[in-house]
């Protein structure tokens, strides 16, 4: 160990093996490598052989050895056979075709290819065959071609394989070998025949012309194969009772390519293929490898049907083999050939299904793949039953794809809707935590579509949820369906099955939902479903106590830390104030349209599938509200609200229009409201003004009633209810400070506060909490010219405000800086107040009146009283 340098390979290996740690090993190898390097530098020819052999060992251990490349070439050029042998080995190991030094090799290879000693020629051919580059291939092609015709079989076989390397590198060179290669087909030596057939196969794969040329060799190949099959025992080529399986397989393989799409060749080989398929012993791996190759050949050629059935049967037999490798091969091949003959494969269905229970996971995987491709209308019941049984015990990694595939298969081949619902429900029960969202949506769609089975489904799901709430998708589906069809659920089941005859009371249902909420599996999505489901139940259930209970449950969510849920709860609770429209809002969902079947494995981009999105999508958080709006829009259209609103426009006139505009502006965020029309303006102008106000909202306006309804509902959802919009405002006198009194008296909810009033100019604030963010207060500032006709217009209005440090303010532009007598202008201030401190403002007001000239005032606003917004 302490010896500085090891002179012999054996000593080096021993020393390295004696190393206890990696560091020791590295140290030994570094020292040795350094010595070898020096020795190379000194051109020490005597030690070269030993050095290279040591270097190769070092290389094999994964240490750098590239510095030995040139020495290997030198060693290969030595006249000594042992030097050549090791030199070429080193060349093959240390060099690859990208090395430039490889060109140095060409010359010594050329010499050795013409050597008189067959083993030296063999070494050169072997080296060339293993590492030839394109350039070397061109340079040495003619030598190899000549050797292909050598009288020595040892050289012929090596030359044939060497030619394979050459034509792989330079496909154009294959023409040079065609003639010689075909003569190899008549060779009697198995090695040469084996190599020759391999070469021809390679050439056929490279060029279609060559392939057509070699079709006439089919009878020769068939004869060779026949001889092998009927030949008696030959010790030399026997492998456990089979004569030269290597050669048999090469011939079968070449026949496969030659017979492809060629009926004539295929007919010539039919007999022998049948013979091989029936006579080959299948107890050992050797026999099976031949049978496997035969099956591939039969499948790939236009062979007759009986033969194909035979082939599939062989694979079927493979499936019951005890050897994993053989079962694996059979499953892969069946998967490939299923398109050729489905019925023949179907016959082995049971055994394929048995493979689902195999201990080996890759076999299970293939079997599963195959099982799914076997499903059709006639066997969907049986296969699905089996697959569901497997789903129960399947590895988790299989489950997501399995649930998808079963659902898709059920959708495609379902004999009836009831079976379809049962199957998907079973999937949800067994693997509800591994179901893709699309499948859940599809199931809900299915239930809504099949009106005659809604009762059945809701009862089944109710029963299922009573048993198990741990399967997420099952719970989601159940909650949705119970919410939607709760009335059918409590109206009593008329289904014979035991579990369903039981009466379900309204409180039972609410108990169940409550227990899910309290259970350990509740997550945000589920809570969202339940909140919406409960809300729907208020219109499905009849007893007042149930509704009251739901109300209480929802009240609990008003303080939920999940914003989405809190918002829903608040919105839903507000809906209770509109009992006349609530049932309409919560009406049954319209039947969803059938969407194109989702192709298995294809990932859909949209998380929310279609109109079911609002109910089924978990990730569509931000869009939920929009969808909800749509939903509400559907629910209320044709309802009572339109009639109420449509009265607003004709009834109001004069300055009350301005109030309405203000209110609408308020509803829509209040920007860009044009200056109010003069009091005498006809109502038509008022209407157009109204539109101007509405026009600033993002939603496109179709017709006045619709847009008003939208606005009303928007407001309604905003959490702060303004009744004034829906009831005609009494026409006020022009001199009245309209917003403050009319709003305040009608609802008491939205008050205006006077901030400033002097010189016939007044400023009022109307605070309102922002519907999108509870921390934001929107203050609508109204500037009013109270001076009457005599005072003239006020212009040059500037309004500045400052907030305390804990708050942030944003001011929108004022609607106008000029105010006609009796008119007003508005400006919106948004104040973000995350700490909920009292709103205090410092104000600077600038305006010019005819009577007082330019007025500049500083003022403070002490804040709104408690609960003003």
């Amino acid at each position: 160990m302490r010896q500085t340098v090891f002179y012999r390979l054996k000593d080096l290996i021993k020393a390295i093996r004696a190393c206890k740690t990696h560091a020791d090993e590295r140290a030994v190898i570094q020292k040795e490598s350094a010595f070898i390097r020096t020795s190379f530098k000194e051109e020490n020819t005597e030690l070269r052989h030993a050095n290279i052999s040591k270097l190769l060992y070092i290389h094999m251990l994964g240490y750098p050895a590239h510095f030995g490349q040139i020495e290997c070439l030198k060693l290969a050029a030595s006249p000594m056979f042992s030097d050549k042998r090791l030199g070429y080995l080193g060349t093959m190991l240390l060099l690859d075709e990208n090395q430039e030094v490889l060109t140095l090799l060409t010359n010594s290879l050329k010499n050795d290819l013409n050597h008189s000693n067959m083993y030296i020629v063999g070494l050169a051919l072997c080296t060339l065959g293993n590492i030839a580059s394109a350039e070397m291939s061109r340079d040495l092609c003619s030598e190899v071609e000549k050797l292909l015709g050598s009288s020595n079989m040892y050289i012929r076989k090596k030359a044939a394989l060497c030619a394979i390397r050459i034509i792989r590198k330079v496909p154009d060179l294959q023409e040079n070998f065609v003639v010689r290669a075909s003569s190899l087909l008549n060779d009697r030596n198995h090695g040469v025949l084996l190599s020759g057939i391999t070469l021809i196969t390679e050439m056929c794969l490279l060029s279609q012309d060559t392939l057509v040329k070699f079709r006439k060799a089919v009878p020769v190949l068939v004869r060779h194969l026949k001889n092998l099959v009927i030949a008696g025992f030959s010790a030399e080529h026997d492998v456990t009772g089979v004569t030269d399986p290597f050669l048999q397989i090469k011939i079968l393989r070449l026949l496969r390519f030659l017979g492809k799409d060629d009926v004539e060749s295929s007919e010539t080989m039919n007999d022998i293929l049948a013979q091989v398929a029936t006579n080959t012993e299948s107890t050992k791996n050797v026999g099976n490898s031949i049978l496997y190759e035969t099956v591939l050949t039969i499948m790939d050629t236009p062979s007759d049907n009986a033969l194909r059935v035979l082939a599939i049967n062989i694979l079927g037999k493979f499936l019951s083999n005890r050897d994993n490798n053989i079962r694996y091969v059979a499953l892969t091949t069946l998967n490939k050939s299923i398109s050729l003959d489905v019925n023949a494969v179907q016959r082995h269905r049971n055994i394929i299904l048995d493979c689902l229970r195999d201990a080996d996971i890759s076999i299970r995987r293939r079997a599963l793949e195959l099982s799914f491709s076997l499903i059709n209308e006639s066997n969907v019941r049986v296969l699905t039953r089996e697959l569901l049984a497997f789903l129960e015990i399947a590895d988790n990694e299989f489950r997501p794809s399995m649930t998808t595939k079963i659902c898709l298969a059920a959708e495609k081949f379902a004999p009836n809707k009831r079976w379809h619902i049962d199957t998907v429900m079973r999937v949800l029960k067994l693997a509800g935590n591994h179901v893709r969202e699309e499948m859940l949506a599809a199931f809900i769609r299915l239930v809504t579509q099949t009106s005659d089975l809604q009762g059945y489904a809701v009862h089944k799901l109710y029963a299922a949820l009573r048993e198990d709430i741990s399967q997420e998708s099952l719970t989601l589906a159940g909650v949705w369906v119970i919410g939607e069809f709760g009335d059918i659920l409590v109206s009593g089941g008329n289904y014979e099955e035991e579990e369903l005859t039981k009466e379900v009371s309204e409180s039972d249902v609410i108990d169940l939902l409550e227990s899910i909420l309290a259970g350990p599996f509740a997550n945000q999505v589920l809570r969202e479903y339940i909140v919406t489901g409960l809300m729907k139940l208020t219109s499905r259930f009849t007893s007042a106590s149930s509704v009251e209970r739901i109300k209480q449950l929802l009240t609990g969510f008003k303080t939920s830390i999940e914003v989405e849920i809190q918002q829903r709860a608040v919105e839903y609770l507000n809906l209770f104030q509109y009992d006349e429209i609530r049932p309409a809002v919560l009406e049954r969902m319209p039947v969803m349209k059938i969407r194109e079947t989702i192709i298995a494995g294809e990932r859909l981009n949209s998380a929310a599938p279609g109109s079911a999105g609002a109910q089924t999508s978990s990730s569509a958080g931000p869009s939920d509200q929009d969808l909800l709006l749509d939903l509400m829009g559907i629910g209320t259209s044709g309802g009572t609200t339109n009639a109420q609103i449509s009265t607003v426009v004709p009834a109001s006139s004069g300055s009350s229009n301005a109030n309405n505009i203000d209110l609408l502006a308020d509803l829509f965020g209040g920007t860009n409201v044009s200056s109010p029309p003069p009091a005498s303006s006809p109502s038509a102008a008022a209407v157009s003004d109204l539109f101007a106000g509405i026009g600033s909202t993002p939603a496109p306006v179709a017709s006045p009633p619709a847009s008003n309804a939208g606005g009303n509902i928007l407001d309604l959802l905003g959490g702060d209810i303004t009744m004034t919009a829906t009831s005609p405002t009494p026409a006020p006198a022009p001199s009245r400070p309209a917003p403050a009194s009319s709003n305040g008296s009608s609802t008491g909810q939205q008050k205006s506060y006077s901030v400033y009033s002097k010189n016939g100019f007044s400023v009022t604030f109307t605070p309102q909490r922002d519907s999108g963010n509870p921390n934001v207060v929107n203050i609508l500032t109204t500037f009013r010219n109270d001076a009457g006709e005599s005072g003239g217009a006020i212009d040059g209005v500037e309004f500045h405000a400052a907030v305390t440090k804990t708050q942030q303010m944003q001011m929108r532009p004022a609607s106008s800086s000029e105010i006609a007598p009796g008119g007003n202008a508005t400006q919106l201030i948004k104040i973000a107040n995350p700490q909920k401190t009292p709103v205090r403002l410092r104000l600077k007001i600038v305006y010019i009146t005819a009577n007082h000239g330019k007025v500049e005032e500083l003022s403070e606003f002490a804040g709104f009283p408690e609960g003003a917004y």
Partner: protein
């Protein structure tokens, strides 16, 4: 196609016929060295994975209980996997005959001979000779030439 045989002591012999891949990357297969003390299934799987990654082909993993030698072969998608097992088997048989009940140590100290035998059995990744006798004959003949050379050298 590539062919590897090694035992828990690390790689004993590796041949890569696809020389397009830089040798340094295929040396990943030799990283299994640290398995000397804790050889396990996992380590073998790693090697298989690495090979598969490099060669872009399926790997056949032959586990032969011949003196705890393991053989890994990368095969192309068109190759006959079952026959590949036979090729491994054939190689082991020849090694067995040559060394007389081959064991790990034989391969460690005669790794170059293991290569020589492989080169007589396979060339360019294809089966070269189906007769054990012929392969052994060629090896013995070449060994004899080496001995002759050595004797001549000594007599000089």
């Amino acid at each position: 196609m590539s062919h590897n045989s090694f035992s828990h002591g690390g790689q004993k012999c590796a041949t890569f016929w696809n020389t397009k891949i830089p040798r340094s990357s295929t040396e990943g297969a030799a990283d299994s060295k640290d398995g000397r003390s804790r050889a396990g299934r996992r380590q073998r799987q790693n090697v298989v994975l690495k090979l598969t990654k490099h060669l872009g082909s399926m790997a056949v993993f032959g586990n032969y209980r011949y003196a705890s030698l393991y053989f890994i072969t990368g095969v192309g998608p068109q190759d006959n996997e079952l026959l590949t097992l036979e090729i491994i088997h054939r190689y082991v048989e020849v090694l067995d005959r040559y060394f007389g009940n081959v064991c790990e140590l034989d391969l460690i100290f005669n790794f170059h001979r293991a290569y020589f035998i492989l080169d007589e059995l396979l060339l360019a990744g294809e089966m070269q000779e189906s007769s054990k006798v012929t392969v052994l004959q060629a090896i013995h003949d070449q060994d004899a030439i080496e001995v002759e050379d050595a004797n001549e050298e000594r007599s000089k």
